[in-house]
Symmetry: C2
Subunit: 220 residues, 2 copies
């Protein structure tokens, strides 16, 4: 049986997993709002980001309270400080989903994504959702192997990001300046979203092994 | 006289101020590299970001060590955890300066900034430098009034950012898609840089007053 202190530590983990769920829903719905030019959906994603921020604030307050009351050392200390860092990553991922929704809102009733680029944006949104779902599993399971896999999903995101820019700059199918700005911004939001998911997974790796993910990945 | 523990706490603050100096130099030099299409300078900014990252790693290790050894409570605990957060902001500001330098490098031997937009980009770089310098002073002085002033500098950045987009989208002086993408990215890098400087100042406000900067600013 776990004592009250360890239950509080577990609660931090559960709250982080809950944040990954909210952020997963946010990026999925923001992507749909963007591709379908759905203003109501965009507005709802923008409004829902408050819930992610509130969860982060609550988590940070609990973590600080645990630091002050329990004066943890060693792995418990690392768990708590890592939770603070993950909550910052996840809060930022929520912001990025909101940014995607704001591009959708700004361009309504048009879609911000020209038809020839839709396929790439759809794929980017799918990779983003997959990454945050995996980050959630990894937080819960502390599975180092699974955490290291996020790097290769992120390679896929980088490849899509480059493909998006190549398509944007293709002289054979010119896009307007406005579309170019919107799509390049959205592309960057997805790419940053993925980076933060990889960062969350990397923090799990460091927590469990005491080594940086990039070193383990290089040596495996 | 300060004991060894409080000297270590002071050292965290000094190291944060040192980070603001490096980041100030980085954004200033990246801006020059961008505007003058100076490849050597761009490369040196990109390489120098390692020093910011190393400083952050060292600071974080010291902060964790203090948490583990000293089991601080109350204001010392807040100081240490806030240091961890500020170091993350400053490290990210270093990344953003590097991103500006990478745009300069990508577009060499051209300048990424079309002539009619130079003035606005120059102003953005000046506001960015001013903000990080002020953030450094505020970390050292813990001056809440000065910290709250960063908000209005940031308003200026937001205004410049909007002006940049308006100019980019002006049908009377059309820009190519490539320039539009570069300039909109650079604009966003400056804007995010400024946001992180404001975030650093806000953390000082919270540390000193226990209240959020936005609440104090609203009531003042």
């Amino acid at each position: 049986m776990r004592d009250a202190y360890h239950e509080e530590l577990d609660a931090l983990t559960e709250q982080l997993v809950e944040m990954t769920r909210l952020v997963n829903s946010a990026i999925g719905r923001a992507s749909r709002a963007l591709l379908d030019a759905d203003l109501t959906l965009a507005e709802s994603v923008i409004a829902a980001d408050e819930a992610v921020n509130a969860l982060r604030d609550d988590l940070d307050a609990r973590a600080m309270d645990l630091l002050a009351r329990q004066q943890p050392v060693a792995s418990d200390l690392r768990t708590i400080v890592t939770s603070l860092r993950m909550s910052a990553d996840l809060e930022r991922m929520g912001d990025l989903a909101r940014h995607v929704a704001r591009v959708a809102r700004r361009r309504y009733p048009e879609s911000a994504v020209p038809a020839p680029l839709r396929g790439t944006v759809v794929e980017m949104s799918q990779v983003a959702e997959r990454l945050v779902a995996k980050a959630g599993s990894v937080i819960a399971s502390q599975d180092v192997e699974a955490a290291l896999e996020l790097e290769s999903d992120d390679d896929e995101m980088d490849k899509l990001h480059r493909a998006l820019f190549t398509a944007l700059l293709d002289p054979a199918s010119p896009h307007g300046v406005e579309a170019a700005i919107d799509v390049s911004q959205v592309g960057r939001f997805y790419e940053r979203f993925a980076d933060h998911a990889v960062s969350v997974a990397g923090r799990v790796v460091f927590l469990v092994t005491g080594r940086r993910a990039e070193h383990l990945a290089a040596s495996s």
